[in-house]
């Protein structure tokens, strides 16, 4: 009896189904806004290409010249004003800058991250730290370095302080979020046995989130390496970035820029390979 009723109910449903096209995605307000935005951007782009001020540049010529430049840069690299060992040394200076700022950032961020994690501190303190840190993150690293350069003068000191500042805010967010992953019950269990805050932190919180912390820190190290290259040029922080700045802005030697780019690329690839290996190893243990 019941089965029959169900079947007839299903038939009813089939009958009343409309014959027009069925939509998988309903046209909601947000979908509509997205479409309008994409469409207007496309129109603007096409319009822009017709109204650019091209001066007297011939498009084909420009492309060919650019390709020639790139060819000179990457297929005929040479070192004229620096020796190979000098460049090698400068890469290590840049790596050192990245390492130092990441280390400073990590140490400070662990402690502030604990207070920024909602399950370990009060809601009020957590929101305050997170808000402040979001503000710091919103300003690019380069700007922070230049801001600190007012007090410390352009150079490595300003670069270290500024980059540390931004790394701290980045890592606080990353760390506090991995701390928050820990089940509240675990903290409760240790509290109930009379353990103190720092005991809980080092016996439960950090062991539980150590893999996340390492992988976030490594990601920040990679970012800091890229920033450190830029800082060498923009803030006179030294390292390979400064050499690149000299090669381009002072010696106007495009082939030397190519050589330095290869140096940076090689280091970046090495870091990436190393990071992948470390992460895979952590995953095995996770």
């Amino acid at each position: 009896m019941e089965v029959n009723e169900q079947i007839s109910a299903q038939r009813q449903l089939l009958k009343t189904r409309p014959h027009n096209r069925m939509k998988v995605k309903p046209l909601t307000k947000s979908a509509f806004v997205t479409r309008i935005t994409l469409f207007s951007l496309a129109v603007l782009t096409i319009y822009a290409f017709f109204t650019f001020d091209y001066k007297d540049i011939d498009f084909v010529d420009a492309v060919l010249l650019t390709i020639a430049n790139l060819k000179a840069m990457f297929f005929e690299p040479h070192l004229k004003h620096f020796t190979f060992s000098h460049a090698f040394y400068q890469v290590f200076v840049t790596l050192g800058l990245a390492f130092l700022t990441t280390l400073f950032g990590a140490v400070i961020a662990v402690f502030l991250g604990l207070f920024a994690a909602e399950n370990l501190s009060s809601k009020w303190i957590s929101t305050m730290i997170k808000g402040f840190v979001a503000f710091i993150r919103a300003v690019p690293t380069v700007l922070w370095v230049l801001i600190f350069a007012v007090a410390a003068g352009l150079g490595s000191v300003a670069a270290v302080i500024g980059m540390t500042f931004h790394s701290v805010s980045y890592l606080i967010k990353a760390y506090s979020e991995s701390f928050e992953e820990l089940d509240k019950g675990v903290i409760e269990a240790l509290q109930a046995s009379g353990a103190s805050f720092w005991q809980i932190v080092f016996q439960a919180v950090i062991p539980s989130s150590i893999t996340y912390m390492i992988s976030w820190t490594f990601l920040r190290f990679e970012i800091n390496f890229a920033v450190a290259v830029a800082m060498g040029a923009a803030a006179g922080a030294g390292g390979i970035g400064f050499d690149m700045f000299m090669a381009s802005g002072f010696y106007l030697d495009i082939r030397e820029i190519g050589a330095i780019t290869y140096f940076i690329l090689a280091v970046a690839i090495l870091l990436e390979v190393f990071a992948t290996k470390v992460k895979r190893k952590l995953k095995v243990n996770a």
Binding site: V186, S193, G194, S196, W198, Q203
Partner: protein, 262 residues
């Protein structure tokens, strides 16, 4: 026998009008096995957490071993907490650490902050941990990570962590609610054993009336934050169960047979 735990007029209020507990009072003797039963949301967990102040009661009195827990300062509270072990429905172990590390966590309360932070345990403590793990049949799992264990095994580690505190009392918050019937029986047997052989008072929150009837020396029934039944399992009648569980009791016929059997 003196009362180890005496709860008087305990009231817990969340917000303005939501009363989780109102005027709760009961006493627990040393070495007794007491079950607290009641429908979900009746205040069982809150009651248990008020006893070791994981939740602060609004008013009332909780005398544990001669001291009023509600008046304690932070430091004295920690000391009382070391004497009360707690076991949880979701075990609450640190998954990435080994069984023995998790067990030794029970000792943190009576260690200095620094040695606790560094995880330095002395030989005696380690031997005690091994001994307790042996008692709970976990010899083969000492160096396994907690997340590699089954639910029943995890709960046994939870019990080990509580036992290593050398507690006077165990608070168990639905210890078998996430376990299969077999593991549940094993865990309840261990708890009963602990209460009988070690003389440790055990206070258990339970969902299953039949389990409460089978294991307890005393049952406390709670409904809507109020104690509606206190007594030995053999004094519990169908009407009592109906009072504890309200109208849902109609569906609880399965345990009616067990009431006077035990």
């Amino acid at each position: 026998m003196t009362a180890l735990l005496q709860v008087n007029n305990l009231t817990k209020q969340f917000g303005h009008d939501a009363k989780a507990l109102s005027d709760v009072g009961f006493s627990v003797q040393e070495g007794e096995f007491v079950s607290i039963i009641g429908p979900s949301g009746a205040g069982k967990s809150t009651l248990l957490r008020c006893i070791n102040r994981m939740v602060d009661a609004t008013s009332g009195e909780i005398m544990f071993d001669g001291v009023n827990v509600l008046n304690l300062k932070k430091k004295e509270l920690k000391k009382v907490r070391t004497k009360i072990g707690m076991i949880f429905q979701h075990y609450n172990l640190v998954n990435r650490l080994t069984v023995i590390e998790n067990t030794l966590h029970g000792k943190l309360g009576c260690k200095s902050t620094l040695s606790g932070v560094l995880g330095l345990y002395n030989r005696e403590e380690k031997e005690q941990a091994m001994h307790i793990l042996g008692l709970l049949g976990l010899d083969d799992f000492i160096y396994k990570r907690a997340d590699q264990l089954s639910g029943g095994q995890k709960q046994r580690v939870g019990i080990s962590r509580a036992l290593i505190q050398n507690p006077r009392m165990l608070l168990c918050d639905e210890p078998i609610a996430s376990l299969d019937p077999n593991s549940a029986k094993v865990i309840m047997d261990y708890l009963k054993n602990i209460s009988v052989n070690m003389g440790i008072t055990v206070l258990v929150n339970l969902h299953q009336v039949d389990v409460a009837l089978k294991y307890s020396d005393k049952i406390i029934g709670i409904n809507g934050g109020q104690v509606v039944f206190i007594g030995a399992p053999k004094h519990m009648t169908r009407a009592d169960i109906q009072r504890i569980y309200g109208s849902e009791a109609e569906d609880l016929i399965f345990d009616a047979g067990g009431i006077h059997a035990g």
